[in-house]
């Protein structure tokens, strides 16, 4: 695996240094080396925090910015940030109105957030959490609280960030974030493995000619290993799994097709075409459309599809202006 790195154990630090040099207008360093906050003056409103392992760029730090996330805790590659860095992110984001911590359902993140919330309580900072569990492939519907959070988190951040920017109180921001993720389902298909730089070799494998349906963002096993299907069938398999879990008939949705890293953009668009066509055939209209490398897994090949059922509020929140590395909405 040929990489653009120095010391494989320092990739997170080294990469953060570059991010800060590239985006001084968007991101600012803090006292905690693994916490970045939104550049610019802090207005008095609810703070929005997220955090997660590195290697998913532009997630998580790429969604810090006006109208989105206020502060982010950055973990090692594929590892939860520490409790102390979540705590520091809460302190950065708090302006006296409380903090909404919007993160993904992984054991490490759950524990570190839980500890950080306790630490913040001692500082008198109120933190409420929403934990994303949009990955339909990671557990059956009746164990939905075991499901992982994946690319749907982006829509949760967008909704929560927009609601905070509107001036809602903490309950309001939490409610909007929860509504977003509760109406969101995702599923991924993995087409090749990836390698954590510090490990030097992949810790899972996907044979050429096969695809792992329901793969997780760290190579977690999916629900089926099948021969690689044409893109049209991939779209069908993914939509079927999503729609079985949350029927979307006759509604408007946001669709997010994200590459897992190494799959060319032209293939993501190709897949989007089929998803769009199939949704419309079911009388579901894609109102917001995102196609690109929004939530990746290093250099994994593959793709994820996320659908979010919209109501008037979610539509408004997704439409609200926002600026970040990963997502810019001009506003209308």
């Amino acid at each position: 695996m040929n990489r653009v790195i120095n010391d494989p154990n320092q990739v997170t630090e080294d990469s953060l240094a570059g991010v800060l040099r590239a985006h001084p207008d968007l991101l600012t360093a803090t006292d905690h080396p693994r916490v970045l906050r939104c550049a610019g003056p802090a207005t008095s409103r609810v703070g929005v925090v997220t955090g997660g392992g590195s290697g998913h760029e532009p997630a998580f730090l790429g969604y810090v910015g006006p109208g989105l996330v206020d502060a982010v805790a950055v973990g090692e590659v594929f590892a939860s940030p520490t409790a102390k860095s979540f705590h520091a992110a809460f302190r950065e984001a708090d302006r006296g109105q409380g903090v909404a911590c919007l993160y993904g359902n992984y054991a490490g993140d759950n524990m570190n957030v839980k500890m950080a919330v306790k630490l913040a309580a001692k500082d008198g900072i109120q933190v409420e959490t929403v934990v994303a569990n949009d990955d339909v492939a990671s557990a059956p519907a009746d164990e939905a609280d075991r499901r992982r959070g994946v690319a749907g988190e982006i829509l949760m951040w967008k909704a929560g960030g927009a609601r905070a920017a509107e001036g809602a109180d903490l309950d309001g921001v939490i409610a909007a974030s929860r509504k977003a993720i509760d109406n969101t389902r995702s599923i991924g298909i993995g087409l090749s493995a990836c390698t954590i730089p510090a490990n030097g070799k992949p810790n899972f494998s996907i044979e050429t000619g096969t695809m792992e349906v329901g793969i997780g963002h760290h190579g977690e096993h999916g629900i089926a290993v099948l021969p690689v299907a044409p893109a049209r069938e991939m779209a069908g398999i993914m939509l079927e799994k999503i729609l079985a879990d949350l029927p979307f008939d006759g509604e408007e949705v946001a669709v997010l097709v994200s590459g897992l890293g190494a799959t060319p953009l032209m293939e993501l668009y190709l897949l989007y075409g089929h998803v769009d066509e199939m949704l419309r055939a079911r009388n579901v209209t894609p109102r917001h459309r995102f196609v690109g490398n929004y939530f990746t897994s290093l250099e994994m090949m593959g793709v994820s599809v996320t659908l979010c059922r919209l109501d008037g509020e979610l539509d408004r929140l997704l439409r609200a202006p926002a600026r970040s590395i990963g997502l810019t909405v001009a506003g209308s």
Partner: protein, 217 residues
């Protein structure tokens, strides 16, 4: 009553840290079978930092455990940072106000550490996690103490239970963490966190036992 001065026991912190660092590849290899192969990396990274931070200044066991706890919580993310971090932090806090460690003090300390891990991770015995070492070890120590065994004998009971607990994880199906996604496929191999937990408990017990026998180091 067998007691050890916390000051004398301080260097056991270094024994634990060195043992974990040395076991890096072993622990990762176990994790690779059912998890993502990084348990040794995560642990060694934390305990290498501990070794750096403890440096050459003198410290007692309470301070040593506090440093481990702080380092894991502050610098090691994932699950191990908070789990082992609060384990050592709570054990350190259980030693607050004491100068010496005796059998009952050790049990209280271990209970505090175990409670912190259970509170945070919500694992139960049988889930194929480090709890499958920790809980039976604490129970064995407790039983031995209940039947009147001295500190050294209780530590021996703990050591044995830790080893048995580790070995028993081989037959379990993981129900928590990364390995749980494997289901039945996780059966037949040890659990990585159980292996590190056994190593930590064994190193701690060995160090204390040596002190009780009057031959520290």
């Amino acid at each position: 009553m067998q007691t050890i001065s916390l000051g004398d026991a301080g260097p056991i912190t270094l024994d634990i840290a060195r043992a974990v660092v040395e076991a890096q590849d072993h622990l990762s290899a176990i994790d690779a079978a059912t998890g993502d192969g990084d348990h040794g990396i995560n642990m060694a990274k934390g305990f290498r930092l501990v070794l750096e931070r403890l440096g050459d200044r003198p410290f007692d066991l309470r301070q040593g455990f506090a440093t481990i706890g702080d380092t894991l919580l502050g610098d090691i993310g994932g699950s191990m940072g908070p789990l082992y971090g609060s384990f050592f932090t709570e054990m350190s806090e259980a030693l607050n106000g004491r100068d010496t460690l005796d059998r009952d003090g050790f049990l209280a300390m271990l209970r505090a550490g175990e409670a912190a891990i259970v509170d945070l991770g919500e694992a139960k015995v049988g889930d194929k996690t480090l709890i499958d070492v920790l809980t039976p070890s604490r129970q064995a120590f407790e039983r031995a103490a209940g039947s009147g065994a001295d500190f050294a004998a209780c530590l021996a009971a703990l050591r044995g239970a830790a080893a048995d607990g580790l070995e028993a994880t081989r037959d379990l199906v993981a129900r928590l963490g990364r390995a749980s996604r494997l289901g039945e496929r996780s059966r037949g191999v040890l659990d990585a966190g159980a292996a590190s937990c056994e190593l930590i408990l064994r190193t701690l017990a060995d160090g204390l036992t040596r002190h009780l026998a009057g031959q520290p180091g």
